[in-house]
Symmetry: D2
Subunit: 204 residues, 4 copies
Amino acid sequence: MTTSGDGAATSLKVLTICGSLRRESYNRKLMRAAIELAPPGFQITESIRIDELPYLNEDVAHAGLPAPVQRINEQVRAADAVVFVTPEYNYGVPGVLKNVLDWITTPHPPHNALRFKPVGLMGASIGNFGTVRCQLALRQTFLFIESYVMPKPEIYLFRAQDKFDTQGRLTDEPARELLKAYWPALRKFAGMIATTPHGEGVHA
Amino acid sequence: MTTSGDGAATSLKVLTICGSLRRESYNRKLMRAAIELAPPGFQITESIRIDELPYLNEDVAHAGLPAPVQRINEQVRAADAVVFVTPEYNYGVPGVLKNVLDWITTPHPPHNALRFKPVGLMGASIGNFGTVRCQLALRQTFLFIESYVMPKPEIYLFRAQDKFDTQGRLTDEPARELLKAYWPALRKFAGMIATTPHGEGVHA
Amino acid sequence: MTTSGDGAATSLKVLTICGSLRRESYNRKLMRAAIELAPPGFQITESIRIDELPYLNEDVAHAGLPAPVQRINEQVRAADAVVFVTPEYNYGVPGVLKNVLDWITTPHPPHNALRFKPVGLMGASIGNFGTVRCQLALRQTFLFIESYVMPKPEIYLFRAQDKFDTQGRLTDEPARELLKAYWPALRKFAGMIATTPHGEGVHA
Amino acid sequence: MTTSGDGAATSLKVLTICGSLRRESYNRKLMRAAIELAPPGFQITESIRIDELPYLNEDVAHAGLPAPVQRINEQVRAADAVVFVTPEYNYGVPGVLKNVLDWITTPHPPHNALRFKPVGLMGASIGNFGTVRCQLALRQTFLFIESYVMPKPEIYLFRAQDKFDTQGRLTDEPARELLKAYWPALRKFAGMIATTPHGEGVHA
């Protein structure tokens, strides 16, 4: 667990989920940089590794949710907001990350854990476009899930190989400023979502 | 102007914009049916015809916004929420409707009139899929515009030719029920959006 | 292995890959129905189960491709065309299937096995839209992969639960006719792709 | 009309259509640069201005196609391939360009003029992403139209303002090289498409 800020009662509890399994993933580095740059008042937790979940198979699901699926569902439920930091694979969402989302909507619980949850997206790439196509595909998926995805700021860290030093520290100043500004925006967005009783009525 | 309900101070003011120019458009019929089925407390206005706007040309825009563009911008600003009811053309947004959105973001005003505005989507088709691809493309566009598009209920009236009588009245009971439920959902969604001061801070 | 037709030298060799892991998957039933309805002259093979592949992790990949990844790469290379039959999960591609595509483009071989390969798409759903959103997301992914995806006919088997009998036989006549027509279209499409030397020059 | 090469019988006839109406449009400059850089053997024509077409209204269409619609249909039919060079507006296709595509599929002729036609895409932007989202939306539309869109090379001229001199000449060397390579790729792609009798059978 990584904690930023004082952990007071008013802290915003944020779960981060990284879509890459690589040790030296630029997306993991981006996630860590974002956490480091959070101002006080955020309690940020990294999710379990997403490859602990098996592949979704609804036949298996009917016999009960596997323990890692239960665990990540609990992590999501405990969070006020969830931030996904993920590479783009083949102009789309990494299969291993999509599988997490597929489990989360597998309908054992009456409502999926991400339903009505404020969600943020970030991505880093070696190429020029910073995962823009992946994020569009993810937004399409979160529409089904009924998460509220924060519209802006959009975080696309392109040519990531030029933006970290050898210790993995984000050295790009504009990116650092953008990440600092991300958290207050997420707090306001999450606050907006939270002020309304959903549960049954917002959506037919 | 079409008004539903009592027009009291607490009425939700909704602007509807139809993406079809046809006289006997199923989307216009769907829009009219939706308006008719609104419960009290909604003040619903149809926009000007969208073919009154010229094609967006930024050279023209620099000399000042054409009168119909100004007019629809005012209609959008005066509304608490905007509902688009549109056919799908070629798996995408009708050009004539996209042109409206292109004008709305042409940056004469400091902020575009749809920014932070609650938006709803509906569509009718003769085919089986009820404009689902158009609505995905529109959501991608509203992400740029920074409108808040209501996630659910999604309204896809497929095989529309079977669902209206010869007077153009919507006869499909499930569709009528869904439309009745749409308005309270929109009110809650719009209320959620409105409870937070945006303007500068939600988005970086 | 399932073989249709006479297996003559001129047979079109097709690999089918099912995106669902369920035993009683409608997509598996659709795949089997399609195979059954193939006219002579097609040699159709089902791929290995896609959950035999581990999750893509490029750190692992650098040490060598796991055996099931090598196996499915070989199956793809041996085929003249590949047909994906897959459910839609959360308006997107099932994670377990996307993971296969993520492995296929992991750049151990000089060119990925699906590059320039003719590809077909089919999908079945319980709902009304027959995986249309998943197929759009897949086409976006195949653009990166540089597969040639057959534009038409598009196969969307919606309300699949009404279209099979208790033995899993496809009973819907229009769907059976469409599947019969699919194979000659695929042969022509694959023939068109094959008549040109690609490899280096078609794409920059 | 702009002609490159010798206009011999074996020239590839290409129609270019620009999605911007601005005089100093970067997309027009990109289109002109591409035409200039074409090797011998290409006969390249610019389409009529797309704002000559009225908005698509099927009621109007039933009375006969307006003259500019007929004209652009003829231009498309006379071409071996069509290249669209277009800005991205609001993460989507400019309305004025989409309207052209909407007319082209309006079913007066038995088959639309773009059906089975080889199509290329290019785009320039001031921002970082070079119209990538517009091109994805266009590919979705061309799937309906049944054009064959060349997969690669993809042309995204980002930060276009840094890549032309004051005379509007493209000065970016990598971009110039990419454009030079574009034409032989288009020729091969168009040749591949043309070698097969379509018309009725490739698509069901």
